[in-house]
């Protein structure tokens, strides 16, 4: 109950900040940046695996967001909207620096949602294992398993079919299992 109320308040002050930023108030936009930069940077870092590139992507995400702010619907989540921009920016920057990898065959097989590890693993080891995944599998895994987007949402953000997204997750699970030496359920 208290959490829901806090969430409501958060959405309301965030909407007020968006309105002020739309009117040209960079101080209001800075507050939005301070609130969301960690999550945006985390996403960019996991997608690019490069600190400098992730910083560039984070900057570009907020600059693009500033330009597009009047088109943002305050009823939707600002965090999700920023993540979409961050994914687009990261994909575009990555395309310039690395060749496009072939997509796996789409699959309709069921994908378990939990992403639990049979044996607990250190954060560093998991992050390294995720970082070593092929780009497509890593993107799908990061958006779905870490940031909680559905298959459909992750597929839409990445510009691929939902079946392809599921295939990438299947591939990610298999590779993680091999690299971590533990079952990923």
């Amino acid at each position: 109950m208290a959490h829901a109320q806090a969430q409501d308040t958060r959405v309301e002050w965030e909407a007020a900040l968006v309105q002020r930023a739309c009117a040209g108030d960079t101080r209001a936009f800075e507050r939005l940046y301070r609130e969301h930069s960690g999550c945006v940077y985390g996403l960019c870092l996991r997608m690019t695996r490069d600190v400098q590139l992730a910083e560039d992507c984070t900057q570009d995400t907020f600059i693009n967001a500033w330009r597009a702010l009047p088109r943002f619907e305050t009823r939707s989540s600002l965090g999700t909207w920023l993540h979409r921009i961050a994914v687009n920016v990261s994909l575009a920057k990555r395309r310039r620096t690395s060749p496009v990898e072939p997509l796996p065959e789409p699959t309709e097989e069921g994908i378990a949602e939990a992403w639990t590890l049979e044996t607990p693993v250190e954060v560093r080891d998991i992050e390294e294992a995720i970082g070593e995944l092929p780009e497509g599998a890593r993107d799908a895994l990061v958006l779905h398993a870490l940031y909680g987007y559905s298959h459909g949402e992750a597929a839409q953000m990445l510009g691929i079919a939902e079946g392809t997204c599921k295939a990438q997750l299947h591939r990610a699970r298999k590779l993680l299992r091999e690299r971590l030496g533990t079952e990923v359920n």
Partner: protein
Amino acid sequence: MSGPYEGTERKVSSLGELPRSIEPGRDLWPNIEAHLKGIQAAAPTTTGANAIPPRLRRARLSWLAAAAMVASVAVGVWIGRNLLPGVGPGAPGTVATTATAPPGFAAATDATVLDAAYVNDPRYQRQRAALLRSLPARLAALPPPARAKVLASLAAIRKAKQDLESALGKDPSNALLQELLVDTYQDEMRVLTDVREASEPGRGI
């Protein structure tokens, strides 16, 4: 790749336990802000990303003058309130400022106290009431496009005030909301002052 990740020795048993948020190694805001200023400077017809009709652009200077006036009045009010016995920032009618800001946001500053005193000052209230009374007649004197723009601005300000007041109803001691509400009242004052000046003979928006 483990460098940027905090608590890397911690063990987790699910990918969902990995931190979503990772703080960049340096503050990226100064660079972003420089870009935003560049965007604003390159497109003088915009504030943020919203287009403003060219005729309203000329009014910006008078808005700045109004803002300066607001600041000086606020300082005067603050000094008066703090020097008069029993009429300080904590007196009835002033906005509470002792609250905690939302996570990730700066705490209340003296500016909040000063701003709150400004909004509660009777002189401000009288001036605002007078400007609102004369608004319909002044709007009628404006060309239709300028009138529409002013009405849209006032509607946006009214909506922002409603949102902020509603949020303050649920979280009355939130310093950030209080500050934003005062800022919104100041925005309204700037628009009203600008309309007054623009509707005077020989002037225009």
